[in-house]
């Protein structure tokens, strides 16, 4: 450097008179444009909180056989138990307090959905980035596998896998990951292909940065937005898929009832007029999935680069 005195030469350009604004703050303010979406996010937060705090807020531990009495079976909403407390949402066929069962079921449904989502994102993201950056044969091979996978219904794939693997939370998570990674791989590849051609990636190459650094520090952070959107919607799908599988009896064991299993258990009582055993878990499932999807929709609007100023 021969001269570091700028004052005599270039005009210091006045900075934009705006408070330092991080992408996160901008994102939050954009998200809050829709009241409905804020409501959905709050509702979702409450649902997650309830699921997390289940042992402390559920009136009864539905897994504790000492508390559950078969004599309380199939009580309607509002009925009193033998021990004198109220079953606000009634009881199921085994005499469990339905409200507690739903709270615990929510906990299982959500954790299965989120765990499978996170693992599927990691797998899909890696594979998608690899495809986009490597190109050629590798890309072709990966994308054909993705195409084949996406052409089969997810339920079918999961059913086949569970038939082979058997029951259990770990098994269903594996099945859901395998049924879903392809969505993420396709999403990441599509945005990575676009980002790869941007001039800032060429600039990074000029600056002698390593391939790993370019892929993970430069390209990946710019592919996260669509991934978040797809991730939210896919998590809702995963929860619904798990419920479907449990309803069909191939998902979780009876000892760990998720919402789907509760619905399935209650289904046989529908015709005898004991609607609550199936309907309340169903409503819980519906509210959960709709709120996740509404959050996802708003995220898509906010994070869509074409709609950004």
């Amino acid at each position: 450097m021969t001269s570091l005195d700028p004052a005599s030469r270039a005009d210091p350009v006045p900075a934009v008179p705006k408070a330092a604004e991080t992408p996160l703050r901008r994102f939050v303010s954009d998200y809050c444009d829709s009241r409905l979406a804020v409501g959905a996010a709050l509702l979702l937060a409450v649902i997650v909180l309830v699921a997390l705090l289940a042992p402390w807020i559920a009136p009864q531990d539905p897994y504790d056989l000492a508390v559950v009495s078969i004599f309380d079976a199939r009580q309607p909403p509002g009925a009193q138990s033998m021990d004198g407390y109220t079953f606000w949402l009634g009881t199921d066929g085994a005499g469990r307090d339905l409200l507690s069962a739903i709270i615990y079921g929510l906990r299982i449904s959500l954790s299965v959905g989120v765990a499978s989502g996170v693992i599927a994102i990691i797998v899909g993201m890696t594979v998608g980035l690899l495809a986009a950056y490597a190109g050629g044969r590798t890309e072709n091979l990966i994308m054909r596998v993705v195409d084949i996978q996406l052409s089969l219904p997810a339920v079918l794939i999961a059913l086949i896998l569970l038939a082979i693997l058997g029951k259990g939370i770990d098994k269903i998570i594996i099945a859901l990951v395998i049924a879903q990674w392809a969505y993420y791989a396709r999403t990441v590849r599509a945005s990575a292909l676009v980002e790869r051609r941007r001039e800032y990636v060429e600039a990074a190459a000029c600056l002698g940065l390593s391939h790993a650094r370019i892929v993970f520090r430069h390209i990946l952070p710019n592919c996260v937005a669509p991934l978040i959107v797809v991730g939210t919607v896919q998590t809702a799908h995963a929860i619904a898929l798990e419920a479907t599988l449990s309803f069909l009896g191939v998902g979780l064991p009876q000892t760990e009832p998720s919402l789907g299993l509760l619905i399935s258990n209650g289904f046989e009582y529908m015709l005898s007029g004991k609607y609550w055993i199936a309907v309340f878990p169903g409503v819980a499932l519906l509210i959960t999935i709709v709120s996740i999807n509404m959050v996802g929709d708003q995220l898509r609007d906010v994070l869509n680069p074409r709609l950004q100023k």
Binding site: P6, V13, A15, Y200, C206, L209
Partner: protein
């Protein structure tokens, strides 16, 4: 200024091939006639740039000037030919030597929106490479970034902001600071001011001239704007459809262009100091680089074309000391 070129291109070509996809291969099996599309973006270009020189590279869309710039900057590897940095072939370099050559040649891009990573703060955009390459130590990075920002006329207080918070001119300055941070000797400017407003263009052009004076930088200045090139360049190279058609010292070229395309180009440029004239455009369109004309690429539009021009491509030869032109008319 030494006589040996700082950077030299020897018969550099760059081809882009679009291979057939599976569907097209099936069409061919069924008797279709699909071919691979090959674009000769750069066709056997030789060029030497001396230390401290500013070379202007001029041409219209599809002439390969941006591709040539990217070959020089090391973003694209040439399909054929050699890029020599201080007399050494870049392709045969390895390890530290190659890294040094990479860092010494930096590029300033056209689009101030897409040339900065939107997810990074200014301090990381400018400071990342010097830190990674160990040009400055961890605790010095912050001061170093400040110095770079001052150098390009920006207030260091802005360094924790993101690119979207700046105007086009400011973003372009950040891109220049990023390049300067790895202490380059050579800048490739690819239409670096084309996207800016006129008054901002002048600011950035002046910055380029100051940097040249203060840091002794050498430039390859790629532009479609002849006025800008005339203002800045010592020597001007004109490309048409992948080939160099004329190369001459700026003053001589603008006073007396030799190649018919160079002449046409100079005539067409609207200039603020020659106005309300009658436009007398060259006829015809710029041919597609996918199917360039035979012989001299310019012959379908050339007012002086002879039968020979469509049969044989003219060689780029010296017509006066320091002046090269590729036209059959020079053969007398």
């Amino acid at each position: 200024m030494s006589d040996a070129p700082l950077l030299a291109l020897e018969d550099v070509s760059k081809r882009f091939v679009r291979r057939l996809d599976a569907a097209e291969k099936i069409v061919n099996l069924l008797g279709g006639n699909r071919r691979e599309e090959v674009v000769h973006a750069v066709d056997s270009v030789s060029l030497g740039i001396r230390e401290g020189e500013v070379v202007g590279l001029v041409g219209e869309s599809g002439c390969g000037k941006s591709t040539l710039g990217r070959v020089v900057a090391g973003v694209h590897a040439p399909s054929a030919g050699k890029v020599l940095w201080r007399g050494r072939d870049v392709a045969t370099m390895s390890g530290a030597e190659r890294r040094d050559a990479t860092l010494k040649i930096q590029m300033i891009f056209q689009d101030p929106m897409s040339s900065l990573n939107p997810r990074m703060r200014v301090r990381d955009i400018v400071g990342e490479a010097p830190r990674v390459h160990g040009l400055v130590s961890g605790e010095e990075v912050s001061d170093y970034v400040d110095a770079m920002l001052l150098r390009v006329g920006l207030d260091p207080a802005i360094k924790s902001r993101y690119p979207h918070q700046f105007s086009g001119g400011q973003r372009q300055r950040i891109g220049i600071a990023r390049a300067l941070a790895v202490r380059p000797d050579f800048l490739v400017c690819d239409e670096s001011i084309a996207a800016l407003d006129v008054s901002i263009q002048a600011q950035v052009l002046n910055l380029f001239m100051d940097l040249r004076e203060d840091l002794g930088l050498t430039y390859l200045f790629i532009s479609h704007d002849l006025g800008v090139v005339e203002h800045l360049a010592d020597r001007v190279v004109i490309m048409y459809l992948g080939r160099v058609v004329e190369s001459a010292p700026a003053a001589e070229l603008f006073a007396d262009p030799n190649h018919p395309y160079a002449r046409a180009l100079l005539d067409e440029v609207p200039r603020i100091d020659t106005r309300k004239r009658i436009f007398q455009p060259v006829k015809g369109e710029i041919p597609s680089p996918l199917t360039p004309p035979t012989g001299c690429h310019f012959h379908p539009r050339c007012p002086h074309a002879k039968p020979r021009c469509s049969a044989e491509a003219p060689a780029l030869r010296e017509i006066a000391p320091g002046r090269l032109s590729a036209c059959h008319m020079n053969d007398g």
